[in-house]
């Protein structure tokens, strides 16, 4: 398997360009702030789209590769180690992984294939923005219609919703940490909106 993992320092991988490349400086500046909120990009994250009949043998086999059964309902996230699986719909999921794209794809495809099973590399479809800090929820509340209060949402939950009127996948990974996964074509808009909405929280409270 090691042979198929791309060298990440040269060749096509080096030519990858994040959809946020033009906004990177502003995002980096916000990431350095010592205030109520920090913003960072986690570019080139491995993402795999899954379509399979829930409860089927194929679904079980996929769950075994991912280290946990596929999430059964809205908001749920399962998985361990490098892989997390987010519920997108009753027969649709997104795997977000810190591991190798090629290895994950080949292991999933070896575990399940055939009619009714779709395992698709969608890593370039979205980028990942991480918003963190005591004011993170206040920033999101300015433009997200979903109820993010702890009574309705919390760490380890993910939903598809809108932020500033554009579709995003919103995933809370910690008490004060959210990952936003906009489609690549919306990424710059979302980053610019977040920087603007976070402005009042960026400076340390003096």
């Amino acid at each position: 398997m090691a042979d198929s993992i791309l060298d990440t320092t040269s060749g096509p991988v080096e030519l990858r360009r994040s959809p946020l490349a033009a906004t990177a400086a502003g995002v980096a500046e916000a990431g350095a702030g010592g205030g109520g909120v920090r913003l960072a990009e986690r570019p080139f994250t491995t993402m795999v789209g899954l379509r399979v009949v829930p409860g089927s043998t194929a679904a079980d086999a996929i769950g075994a590769v991912l280290g946990a059964p596929l999430p059964a309902g809205v908001g749920e996230v399962t998985g361990e180690g490098d892989h997390r699986t987010l519920w997108l719909g009753p027969d649709e999921w997104l795997v977000v992984s810190d591991g190798s794209r090629e290895e994950l794809l080949s292991r999933l495809r070896a575990a399940a294939e055939g009619p009714g099973v779709a395992i698709v590399d969608v890593s370039a479809n979205r980028t990942v923005l991480e918003l963190e800090g005591p004011a993170a929820r206040s920033v999101l509340d300015k433009g997200c219609p979903a109820d993010l209060h702890p009574r309705a949402f919390g760490a380890g939950r993910a939903i598809t919703t809108t932020l500033a009127r554009v579709p995003v996948l919103l995933w809370q990974t910690g008490e004060q940490t959210y990952r936003l996964l906009p489609r690549s074509s919306y990424a710059e808009y979302v980053a610019a909106w977040l920087l603007d909405a976070a402005q009042e929280f960026l400076e340390p409270v003096g």
Binding site: G73, V74, L88, G89, P90, E92, P145, A146, I159, T160, T161, T162, R165, P167
Partner: protein
């Protein structure tokens, strides 16, 4: 703004959904047999009741699934959300 309860995701704002027109408009059994007028009727003509109306909605920014809603066109109250067979409350929606 309406709040609509997606059968899979629960209640969400109307802005997360798109509207799909009247529900239970069946595709013609034998389209070739229809006159132009009947075909136009199927394509373009819809009921416009005052009161409960069965209509299609899709949770486009959420789970992307289609389902049916019975909405009162006067009060905007959502009377039922369902997939498959039409509930009792939708009977006023009118078939085509």
């Amino acid at each position: 703004m309406l709040q609509i309860e997606c059968p899979w995701c629960g209640p969400h704002d109307e802005t997360e959904y798109h509207y799909g027109g009247q529900a239970h408009v069946a595709y013609p059994e034998d389209p070739e047999a229809l006159s132009d007028e009947e075909w136009a009727e199927y394509l373009f003509y819809r009921d416009n009741p005052k009161g409960p109306f069965a209509e299609r909605w899709v949770h486009s920014t959420g789970c992307r699934r289609w389902f049916n809603v019975v909405r009162d066109t006067v009060t905007y109250e959502v009377l039922a959300v369902y997939t498959g067979a039409r509930p009792e409350v939708a009977s006023a929606g009118g078939d085509r």
